[in-house]
C-alpha cells in the first residue's frame, strides 16, 4: 500500500424525478415540452409537494400532461385551465394547483381566463409554453408567432398588417395587480434550462407562500412545425425568439424578492 486511496462508489446523480411517471411521452423528437415537464416534476419533488398537487392540462400538445405527471390531474377545455384551476383552488386552498398551457391555449382562446385569474390574484401557478405556433393542430399561426414566420395558416409569413404583431403575455400579465411573480425563460440550452427551473421553483414557492398568482413563460421548441431539426430549433429560439421575447422577471411583487434569494 502506498498513498491513501479514495474508495470510489458509483451513485446515481441524475434520474427521472418521482413526480414524473415512467412512461414515454407522445411529444415529437426535440420538443421541449418534455424538458418543461421534467423541470416542473423536479420542482415538485424538491419542494415535497407531489402528494398535494393537482395539475390542470390544456388542450394542445400537452393535453396528456396529466398522464406524465405523477400527481392528480385533470383536463381543461381549450383555454379554460385558469378557470378550472380557480375552481379547484377555491375549494381546496390546501392543495398546490398548477396549469400547464400552450400559447394557443393561454394567449388566444384563453386570454380572458388567464387575465382574470391573474387579476384576481388566484393562488395557482401557470407554466406557459410559448412555442410560437399551434403544435397539436399541425402548425398554424399562434398569437405568439413571429412577424414573417411561416406557418400553415400564414403561408406567406405572418403579415403584421393583417394579423398584427405577436403578443408578449408575460409583460401583459405582469401589468396586472394580482400577479405576484411573472417571468420569462427559455429552454434552448442547458444554461437556460437551469434558469428556467429556478423560475419555476420560485413560482411554486410564491403559491405556497400565498403571495398571489405566479406564471413562468417558457420559450419552447416545436421542431416539427417549424420544419427544423432539433438543434436548428434551439438556435432559432435563441436567435429569433429571444430578441422579441426578452428573458427575465417581469413582476416581482412584495415578498417575492426574498424567495428569489433563497438557494
Amino acid at each position: 500500500m502506498m498513498v491513501a486511496e479514495t474508495v470510489l462508489e458509483e451513485q446515481v446523480v441524475y434520474a427521472r424525478p418521482a413526480s414524473l411517471r415512467d412512461v414515454p411521452t407522445h411529444y415529437c423528437p426535440g420538443c421541449t415540452h418534455g424538458v418543461a415537464h421534467r423541470l416542473v416534476a423536479e420542482v415538485l419533488d424538491e419542494l415535497g409537494i407531489r402528494e398535494r398537487t393537482i395539475g390542470v392540462s390544456p388542450v394542445g400538445c400537452a393535453v396528456f400532461a396529466y398522464k406524465y405527471f405523477n400527481t392528480d390531474g385533470c383536463e381543461a377545455a381549450h383555454g379554460r385551465a385558469p378557470a378550472m384551476a380557480t375552481g379547484i383552488k377555491r375549494v381546496r386552498p390546501d392543495m398546490v394547483v398548477f396549469t400547464y398551457q400552450g400559447d394557443g391555449d393561454l394567449a388566444a382562446i384563453g386570454t380572458g381566463e388567464i387575465i382574470h385569474a391573474a387579476t384576481r390574484g388566484e393562488l395557482f401557478t401557470t407554466i406557459f409554453i410559448n412555442n410560437a405556433i399551434y403544435g397539436m393542430t399541425g402548425g398554424q399561426m399562434a398569437p405568439t408567432t413571429l412577424p414573417g414566420q411561416y406557418t400553415s395558416s400564414s403561408p406567406a409569413g405572418r403579415d403584421v398588417e393583417t394579423a398584427g404583431f405577436p403578443i408578449r403575455m408575460a409583460e401583459v400579465i405582469a401589468g396586472l395587480p394580482g400577479a405576484a411573480y411573472v417571468a420569462r425563460r427559455s429552454l434552448h440550452n442547458v444554461k437556460e434550462i437551469m434558469k428556467a427551473k429556478k423560475a419555476i421553483r420560485t413560482a411554486f414557492k410564491v403559491q405556497l407562500a400565498g403571495l398571489g398568482f405566479s406564471m413562468v413563460e417558457l420559450l419552447s421548441a416545436c421542431p416539427t412545425n417549424w420544419s427544423m431539426s432539433p438543434p436548428e430549433a434551439m438556435r432559432w429560439i435563441e436567435e429569433a425568439m429571444v430578441p422579441y421575447y426578452p428573458l427575465g422577471d417581469f413582476k416581482v411583487a412584495e415578498g417575492v424578492e426574498a424567495l428569489l434569494k433563497e438557494r
Binding site: 407522445h26 415529437c28 423528437p29 400538445c61 393535453v63 397539436m136 393542430t137 399541425g138 416539427t224
Partner: protein, 183 residues
C-alpha cells in the same frame, strides 16, 4: 374490380404519398377511387396509414375492416394488419424492418427488402415506390405508364429530378413482386 388497399408505416416513410399516387393514377384511368388517411394528433413519429379504395362502381364505404390488400412499411404495421387482411388477400411487407415473418397461410405474401434496396439505389425515401411496385406486380390495379405520367405531373418542375429515381425504384419493386421470383 373492387379493391381496398391499406398502406401503413411510420410517419415520414412516404406511406400517404404511395396511397395518393395509386389514387391519382386510378382516377386517371377512369376508376372510382377514394383515399383516406388515418389522422391523429400525433402526426410525427407516430404511425401513418391510409386506405385507398379502387373500384369500377361508385364507392360506398371508403373505410373497411378487412382490406383486400395491405402494404406494410414496418413491423408494428405488419403486426396490426396481418390479421385483418381478407382471406385470399395480398400482404406486401417491407422485409427490411420486419421482426418476424408473417404467419398466415391464407394470404398471398410478398416480402420486399424495400429499405435496403432504397438505400442501395441511394434514395431511402423511395422505399414507398419499391413497395408500390411490388403491389402492382401482383395486382395490376393501374398501368405503370399511367403511374409514370401521374408521377411526373405530381412532382412538377421543382422536383422533376426525382422522377427517374422514383420510377427506377418502382421498377425494382415490380421486378421483386413478380410471382416467379418470390414464390
Amino acid at each position: 374490380m373492387h379493391e381496398e388497399i391499406i398502406f401503413a408505416g411510420f410517419g415520414g416513410q412516404g406511406v400517404l404519398f404511395a396511397g395518393q399516387l395509386l389514387a391519382y393514377t386510378a382516377l386517371e384511368e377512369g376508376r372510382h377511387v377514394t383515399w383516406i388517411p388515418s389522422y391523429g394528433p400525433e402526426m410525427r413519429g407516430g404511425t401513418a396509414n391510409c386506405t385507398v379504395v379502387v373500384s369500377d362502381e361508385p364507392i360506398g364505404s371508403p373505410v373497411c375492416l378487412h382490406p383486400s390488400i395491405a402494404v406494410v412499411f414496418n413491423n408494428p404495421s405488419l403486426e396490426k394488419y396481418e390479421p385483418l387482411v381478407k382471406p385470399g388477400g395480398l400482404l406486401i411487407v417491407n422485409q427490411s424492418l420486419m421482426v418476424a415473418a408473417p404467419q398466415r397461410a391464407d394470404l398471398e405474401i410478398v416480402l420486399v427488402p424495400a429499405t435496403e434496396i432504397a438505400t442501395e439505389i441511394g434514395q431511402v425515401r423511395a422505399t414507398n415506390m419499391i413497395l408500390f411496385g411490388a403491389l402492382l406486380a401482383r395486382r395490376p390495379l393501374v398501368r405503370v405508364e399511367t403511374v409514370r405520367a401521374v408521377l411526373q405531373d405530381k412532382l412538377g418542375a421543382r422536383k422533376a429530378h426525382l422522377h427517374e429515381i422514383n420510377m427506377a425504384a418502382l421498377e425494382r419493386g415490380l421486378a421483386i413482386g413478380r410471382p416467379v421470383f418470390s414464390e
